[in-house]
Symmetry: C2
Subunit: 150 residues, 2 copies
DNA sequence: TGCAATTAAATTGCGTACAATACGATTGTA
DNA sequence: TACAATCGTATTGTACGCAATTTAATTGCA
């Protein structure tokens, strides 16, 4: 082990994670463009399709995004007519996000998205599952106990 | 398998990849801040520390970054005094990037970076290696249909 | 050879994404 | 009723890719 080995690009775990994340998101662009949404908007809709009416904060927790990112994103989705943002009348600090009928209809068109992008991922089912569980394990300890401030 | 199962967030491979990539890069910020560089600048320096004098294009290939991303980044590194950008005299289309003595000196300070960030990654050595090889495999077939010449 | 057409590399401009910070409004509570 | 906590928004700065542009090198062809 030489002195600078830890600084070789090939010895970084973070780098392929960073690069693969970027590259795969890029694969979504041409596909999602036809639906008139971006990748971040897409994963937001994935959550809403499962559970409508979540608050900005709840969405952020599920998507690992902060409200400063979500606010403009949700406004864009509202402008496109896919969601409505409404303040909760009981607690007016909360903004809840609801799908419109257009937003619900988009779910049908989105059905083909995973197939189209999945063709770029030439991993076996086993490998994909392994990768999936390793990523969630990593994600778990990055966001729970990973505080490295001094 | 229900109709919309493929659109559940939990069934996406891309999402944990995207999220983990973002989160781990975020861990670098406070550490790299002390060196006065960003994460993208850091990985660029990692490459240059191994091999000085690469062109913008060659850097882009190694880092999976577009030249439109690298140009302002390299200018920033130049402003900070870590690199010099010089046009190749034989082929004046090429801009080659060289470390300054400050840039080389920064390598010493960077030695502690992997250690500091590595503490956030609570994977076993085996798991880390598995993740590493799966990511590179994925990265390989994500970028296949682009170009692969060296 | 000599010059046009093509190819290649870097830059510029634009649009989106994301985080950090400060701020304002609301709520719960001491 | 004052005050701290909570939630969303506005602002700012960096990051990133794509498309169009500029400049340089190469190729095709007469």
């Amino acid at each position: 082990m030489k002195k600078y080995d830890s600084l070789k690009l090939e010895n970084q775990l973070c780098f392929p994670l960073y690069a693969a994340g970027k590259e795969i998101v890029r694969k979504y662009h041409p596909v999602l463009e036809k639906l008139n949404i971006t990748y971040t908007q897409y994963i937001t809709l994935l959550v809403l399709w499962e559970q409508d009416g979540l608050s900005v904060k709840e969405l952020g927790k599920k998507l690992y995004l902060d409200s400063g990112t979500l606010t403009p994103l949700l406004k864009a989705l509202e402008t496109k007519g896919f969601v409505k943002r409404v303040r909760n009348s009981r607690d007016e600090r909360l903004v809840e996000v609801f799908l419109t009928s257009e937003g619900r209809a988009l779910r049908e068109e989105a059905l083909s998205v995973p197939l189209q992008v999945g063709q770029c991922v030439a991993l076996s089912k086993d490998e994909a599952m392994q990768l999936y569980s390793l990523l969630y394990k990593l994600l778990g300890n990055l966001t729970n106990e990973g505080d490295n401030s001094e």
